[in-house]
């Protein structure tokens, strides 16, 4: 079965090379992935992310429910529009999915979860919602367009003439607002400033065209992947799944341990892990030799073997970068088995690139 987003015809008309992604026909690139990547780092680009799953949680118990469902604490969300990144765990502390949740008002939270995990997530959330006064609605009527890059705000202000530019400019990072038909969030998956806009299917077609008229280039999934990797952002399925906990996926910072009596799903298992210590950690790798780091390559270090997770070529650094899961005691240097040879790589802390700046603090 193959799904198409409302922007399918636009992608084809703009030369998108369409590929299957989690059951969706999506543009891999519109010519050159490297150029699209650089376009977002240097200026601005737009992404069709309508394949992502938008879920509204409505009802008086939305907040208590999310307190239980998520490893991060929605109690940090006190002002309408605030957003939070969190994992949703199973009872063993394994990651069911990662997501962004937006607090709009006491009876309404919105979550965005991955496309590939849609059915599993909805089933899990609905099961856990039993006994809570909360309605779970997948918003399949909504499309989503991301506008990302240092000039995202300026170009979006030019495009959305119905919304005052001051309102857009004054939005803080990681907040959202409902402006007429548009749900506008200052979030993204590129490490750049930018917005994610949820709106109706016809609205998305109009917005896409108007952004294009204002010189915003379309960007495919290929560049989306290298942008988020450079920005140090995990990809569900490649960097984490139900077999690993946030503590093994460089996401300890997303676990809210306080207050100690908040009984979120997976808490007991995570506390055991924290007390006993985890065997593996997730790190960044920068390849020192030639070649490209790819998922599943073997990492050999002084403390034992590990595995490459997301790996690719970094257009900004002009060398290969990756995430890897390695033994906890792994030092600063490892070797990666690439096509039968051993290539040295340096262990670094992500992000590799942040807001156009190379992160050279750890000696890449």
């Amino acid at each position: 079965m193959s799904n198409r987003t409302p922007l399918y015809s636009q992608h084809v008309a703009m030369g998108g090379k369409m590929v299957d992604f989690a059951g969706w026909e999506m543009p891999l690139n519109y010519g050159s992935q490297l150029e699209e990547h650089r376009q977002v780092r240097a200026d601005v680009g737009m992404f069709d992310v309508s394949h992502m799953t938008i879920i509204d949680l409505e009802g008086g118990a939305a907040r208590p429910f999310l307190r239980r469902l998520l490893a991060n604490s929605v109690d940090s969300l006190q002002h309408a529009g605030q957003a939070l990144y969190s994992c949703m765990l199973n009872d063993d502390g394994g990651i069911v999915d990662d997501l962004i949740v937006y607090f709009m008002h006491d009876d309404w939270f919105r979550m965005v979860v991955n496309a590939a995990t849609r059915d599993k997530d909805l089933a899990w959330i609905r099961k856990q919602a039993n006994g809570f006064d909360v309605e779970i609605n997948a918003r399949d009527d909504l499309a989503m367009v991301a506008v990302q890059g240092p000039n995202a705000c300026a170009r979006l202000c030019d495009t959305l003439t119905d919304i005052s530019a001051d309102r857009l400019r004054s939005m803080a990072a990681f907040t959202a607002m409902q402006a007429g038909e548009l749900f506008i969030a200052r979030t993204g998956y590129t490490g750049e400033d930018g917005f994610e806009i949820m709106l109706s299917a016809p609205g998305a077609v109009t917005l896409w065209q108007r952004l294009h008229d204002h010189g915003v280039a379309p960007i495919g999934l290929g560049a989306r992947d290298t942008l988020r990797l450079e920005a140090g952002m995990n990809l569900y399925g490649a960097d984490m799944d139900e077999r690993v906990s946030p503590l093994e996926a460089a996401l300890s910072w997303t676990v809210a341990w306080e207050p100690a009596d908040r009984a979120f799903i997976g808490r007991a298992a995570l506390e055991r892990q924290r007390a006993d210590g985890v065997a593996k950690k997730m790190v960044g790798l920068v390849l020192q030799g030639r070649g490209v780091l790819r998922n599943h390559q073997k990492v050999v270090g002084d403390a034992g073997d590990g595995e490459v997770l997301s790996g690719s070529f970094s257009p900004t650094l002009a060398r290969s970068i990756a995430f890897a899961r390695v033994p906890m005691a792994t030092g600063a240097e490892v070797e990666v088995e690439i096509r039968g040879g051993m290539v040295p790589a340096r262990v670094v802390k992500a992000p590799f690139v942040h807001n156009e700046k190379l992160c050279l603090h750890n000696g890449m």
Partner: protein, 131 residues
């Protein structure tokens, strides 16, 4: 439809071969192949002097998407390699039949290219692969 020059010979693994005046073979990957792979980020060419069997993996072209082996269209000895690709792998994308060539081979047999596809046959093969 991608560009398939009529004066070249082709393989089903998407290499092209140009028979030079001195009988040597200039070898690269086709426009169709580079289009399938996407932006090149790394190219490894064989060392000069290496002896290759026909269909032996002899070079690697790696794009943002994936690494792919290049197979020698004929048996012979590598007499020249395009070392410039180490610093500008994107040349394989922008000029696959020109500056993006990979290696030059002195074929072991005079009829080394006889079994290869001509432009018409390769074109038909690419067409059939897409359906």
């Amino acid at each position: 439809m991608s560009n398939i020059p009529s004066d070249l010979k082709y393989t089903k693994s998407h290499e092209w071969v140009k028979v030079q005046g001195d009988g040597s073979l200039l070898i690269g990957i086709t426009e169709h192949a580079q289009d399938l792979l996407g932006d090149m980020v790394y190219v490894e060419v064989p060392e000069v002097g290496r002896t290759l069997a026909a269909e032996e993996a002899c070079a690697v072209v790696e794009s943002v998407k994936a690494a792919s082996d290049v197979y020698s269209p004929a048996a012979g000895e590598v007499i020249e390699s395009n070392d410039a690709l180490a610093d500008s792998p994107e040349t394989v994308n922008t000029d696959p039949y020109g500056a993006g060539w990979l290696m030059k081979l002195r074929p072991a047999d005079a009829d080394a290219t006889e079994h290869l596809l001509d432009a018409k046959a390769y074109s038909a093969y690419v067409e059939s692969e897409q359906h």
